[in-house]
């Protein structure tokens, strides 16, 4: 059995988590393969919730699979698709099935996804969602009713270190910290100076919160340009795009892995963060190569 993530956060020097992206469809065999491959190599497996507003197999479903296969799931909950009733119901269900970690996010806008005509919800925002989990952790629902069997989630959230301007983002982070989170998983970072500045600012606000740097390997100059244009909150600097452009044809993926591993090593050696969260969407089977190249046990 995997160690509870909240224990890992308290005891481990360098925390490593990875993302499992649910499939578009009901076939879960690939997800199970990824879970089996990664569950003993990382401290937690984080499952996206209709990522990029693209409809997929649910986060809750993959979290259950992780649990069944002996891994430690982190249940991602966005505010985009469910109102306060639906979110509370999902949290009760998740907890009753042994899922004890939740990552509270706003969620991308409907406009970036594949169901652009849908009604987006945002009944709550991410700060309110964190408060909601605490309320439920204390044995009550949001309307103040007693719960017959409460919940006890370890709560995390996200932040964007490269936001420009940064100050409004920091005010939001401050509110999330005051609401109470045990860990922050950052948006994908590529400029470690920016990350360093961000983590120093956050640590001044809250010395205990664990910060995991978001790592998304980029496997080509074209992909980098596309991500800069289309993925909210992502900024890949020109020097990395140039490095990718110079990689010989057919070596994009290994170049991306090499850059990701280099960043992880530096983050660990210079203690910039408390750990990393690796998101190699669609190539989860290659995450072990990143870990190995980064010298992670």
């Amino acid at each position: 059995m995997a160690k509870p993530f909240r224990e890992i956060l308290k005891t481990k020097d360098f925390i490593v988590t990875a993302e499992v992206g649910p499939v578009k469809g009901s076939s879960v065999s690939k997800a199970i393969e990824h879970i089996e491959l990664l569950k003993d190599k990382v401290d937690g497996l984080n499952v996206t919730d209709n990522q990029s507003s693209v409809m997929r197999y649910p986060s809750l479903g993959v979290c259950l699979l992780i649990k069944e296969h002996g891994g430690e799931p982190v249940f991602q909950v966005t505010c985009r698709d469910r109102n306060r009733l639906a979110i509370q119901a999902d949290l009760l269900f998740a907890y009753s099935r042994g899922i004890n970690n939740v990552l509270c996010l706003t969620g991308d806008s409907i406009d970036v996804g594949d169901h652009k005509e849908a009604k987006q919800v945002f009944d709550l925002d991410s700060v309110q969602l964190i408060h909601l989990v605490h309320t439920m952790n204390s044995g009550k629902d949001m309307a103040g009713n007693e719960l017959d069997g409460g919940i006890d989630f370890c709560i995390g959230t996200t932040a964007t270190p490269s936001a420009d301007p940064l100050e409004p983002q920091l005010i939001k982070v401050e509110k999330k910290l005051k609401a109470g989170v045990s860990f922050i998983q950052t948006q994908a970072v590529y400029e470690l100076d920016e990350l360093k500045r961000f983590t120093e600012l956050v640590r001044n606000m809250d010395g205990k919160v664990k910060i995991l740097a978001g790592i998304v390997p980029v496997i080509g100059a074209k992909m980098a340009a596309y991500m800069n244009e289309n993925v909210p909150g992502i900024f890949i600097p020109q020097h990395l795009i140039d490095e990718l452009a110079q990689a010989p044809k057919g070596t994009g993926v290994s170049k991306g892995i090499e850059i990701a591993a280099r960043m992880i090593k530096q983050i660990k050696e210079e203690k910039i963060c408390d750990g990393v969260h690796i998101m190699f969407i669609g190539r989860e089977e290659r995450v072990p190569e990143i870990l190995e190249a980064a010298g992670l046990p």
Binding site: D108, S109, T160, D164, I171, K175
Partner: protein, 219 residues
Amino acid sequence: MIIAERKPMEEIKQFIAPYKKVLVAGCGTCVTVCWAGGEKEVAVLASQLRLARSAEGSEISVLEATVERQCEREMVAEIKDKVAEVEAVISLACGSGVQTMAEMFEDKPVLPAVNTTFIGMPEKEGLWVEMCGACGDCFLDRTGGICPIVRCAKGLLNGPCGGTRRGGKCEIDPEKDCAWVLIYRRLEKQGRLDVMRKYYAPKNYRAVKRPGKVQASKA
């Protein structure tokens, strides 16, 4: 004011296909100011309909009328004789105007020729922007007079999302300013950033029970 946009001609042509005599009814207030449904737009639509139908070889008789406010029964009553002459009314008013008209002339189809889009203000000549969502629970005292309910693409109450683009632009539109960056700058200018640092609990989305109804109390 209420902002509306003319529907595409094809859609209007389709819903008036069964009729040979119609009234195009404009409104002299909001939709006049936003160039969607005033006297001028009534005349334009009426001629377009006559031309289109004549090209198809199925002539149509189009009457024209504009009332000062199509959302007020007394004003709509002024055109009842014209309505009596036609098979259907094409309204260029906002959704409230269309419904007032439809309620007063229950035996006649009243068809909307505009899409009512939002409550907004003119930003520059010919460009209107949405400013208010009529949520019934005004939040503007906490946000430097900038409404995050409609001007933030996600209606967030506690600060920006993580998708803000470089330079403080919105995740969904590189041309649009992030409402929360605007709020931050306004409050900073006023020395009131403490207001932004406060936590705001989830909004009461039922402050106005829909459909809304407001009874004014007597002075």
